[in-house]
Amino acid sequence: MRNIWIIWRKELRSYFVSPIAYLLLTMFALIFGFFFWNALGYFVMMGMESQMRGQAIPMNLNEEVIRPLLSNASVIGLFFIPMITMRLFAEEKRSGTIELLVTSPIRDLEIIIGKWLAALTMYACMLLFTALNFAFLFKYGNPDWKPLAIGYLGLLLQAGGLLAIGTFISTLTRNQIIAGAATFGVCLLLWVLEWVSGYETAAWAQVLAYMSVITHFESFAKGVLDVKDAVFYLTVIFLGLFFTARSMESLRWRS
């Protein structure tokens, strides 16, 4: 436990002493802010329209603003995750510092979990900026906070899975760019897999659609905590970290 904490601290620090963290935070805040502004603008326009017509259209901040924004956040996340994970192991392998970690009295799993948790924390910091936007909704409106909390839980679970995959890919190469590009490819693929369900209902299509990370986010965006979907994400996290551990082991036998 102590070792995980040591690694977590070191990783998180290295995000924040380099420009990476600030670049990611700025870009994410900017893009999400733009989405928020659009969603809110649309919502306000709808409100005015309903007033002009004199008939009340049922309007709900949770349904019309928070839900689509959470879905957006999950998609933007796909683009940022490779940038968070690409350096985790690739950089250590390139600079040779992996030798220090591996020859220290600390287990491989502690290194992996420490690094993965640091990546997740970095992602959570990015989400903090989205919370800043939502804070305005609470100031001027009256949305329900529970679906929002579940949405955030979903975002963290989804990111946890993708970050675990990215961590695994980072152990495969000593080149950050390759790790980043490969992770991006996998993230994108896991997103668009869902499209096959649009025109095909055969069993293989259902399996492919099931593997898509986006499919499982829908319930969270709605504010429903579906155990099936949570288990899916937890499985992805487990598999990602499991493969990372195997990859580190094979690194030793081969290197």
Partner: protein, 325 residues
């Protein structure tokens, strides 16, 4: 302290380390010598539990590298070929991080960081980023990192590679100073380094153990033909060097004599002889000729010659070409 038995490492195609066995006693400095690509780094990586051996095994401080890697890692300090530094960390911060990794904490950690900074002469760059340090400092921080948890065994992979002559001397002195408290294995392909710092030497070539002995024994062993330096002078004017050479060659047992250097009116001759004692004959001959015998000493055989003999007559040019790689 370290016991290696039939240690073998096989990569996909080639045998990097081939059934190596040797022992290292507590407190010794052992030179691990071999040309580049001989398997030095691979052996060290197996000792430090970076990679497991294909077959055979090793124990460090009584713990098996395969069975109890965590115990071994606690007792070993390792400086890889390139010091494992994080460029974005400051020296003190880095040493604190490594100390924590090795299991230190609290006031003990602080004390050790202060101590190794002092010991390895990096106290003046404590607040500098590692990425900005010069090669010499990086190497010393690497060494500081290796001894931070006061390990029983130190494994140093080419600790002086890439340093300038002054830094090389400083690093060697530092390593020698550490010998009392730690058992040290240091790898190198620089021979004088072994002669100067090590008591024991393990020579490997192409993955195979070629020789393991004390430095003095090895030197004696290679000294099949003795080489002597004789300084001859005279108070009665300058001695013709050709005359001296002629006289020296007449001594039974001497195979070759030649003028080596000249200091003013004193000439130093190099005399090669078959094994056995010709020194007495030599001294008598010089004195009987009416000259002064100012000095008579054996010429030290450098490890270089032994090394080349043992590693299978690789020519000096080949060795140099490999060194460049």
């Amino acid at each position: 302290m370290i016991s290696v038995k039939q240690l073998t490492k096989k990569y996909a195609r080639n045998l990097a380390v081939d059934h190596i066995s040797f022992e290292v006693q507590k407190g010794q400095i052992v030179g691990f010598l071999g040309p580049n690509g001989a398997g030095k780094t691979t052996t060290m990586r197996m000792l430090t539990c970076f990679m497991p051996p294909t077959s055979g095994g090793a124990t460090v401080a009584g713990f098996d590298v395969l069975e109890q890697p965590l115990e071994v890692k606690k007792r070993i300090g390792y400086l890889p070929e390139t010091p494992p530094l994080y460029p974005e960390m400051e020296t003190g911060e880095y040493l604190t991080f490594v100390g924590r990794l090795k299991g230190l904490s609290g006031s003990e950690l602080k004390k050790r960081v202060d101590y190794v900074c002092e010991r390895c002469a990096v106290a003046d760059v404590r607040n500098k980023l590692l990425g900005r340090l010069s090669k010499g400092y990086r190497q010393r921080v690497g060494l500081a990192q290796a001894i931070i948890h006061n390990p029983d065994v130190l494994v140093l992979d080419e600790p002086t590679a890439g340093l300038d002559p002054k830094q090389i001397n400083e690093t060697r002195d530092l390593i020698k100073g550490l010998a009392g408290d730690h058992t040290i294995i240091l790898s190198t392909h620089i021979l004088p380094e072994v002669e100067q710092t090590c008591e024991q030497v393990v020579i490997i070539n192409k993955g195979k153990l070629v020789a393991t002995d004390s430095v003095t024994n090895l030197q004696n062993r290679a000294r099949g033909a003795e080489s002597l330096l004789v300084e001859v002078g005279s108070r009665a004017g300058v001695v013709e060097s050709a005359t001296v050479v002629q006289r020296l060659q007449q001594i039974p047992g001497v195979s070759r004599a030649q003028l080596k250097t000249t200091h003013g009116d004193r000439n130093v001759f190099e005399v090669e002889s078959q094994k056995g004692f010709v020194r007495g004959e030599l001294a008598r001959a010089v004195v009987q000729a009416g000259w002064d015998l100012n000095e008579l000493r054996p010429a030290a055989v450098s490890l270089e010659e032994i090394f080349l003999q043992l590693t299978g007559g690789e020519t000096a040019a080949e060795a140099a070409a490999k060194g460049v790689e």
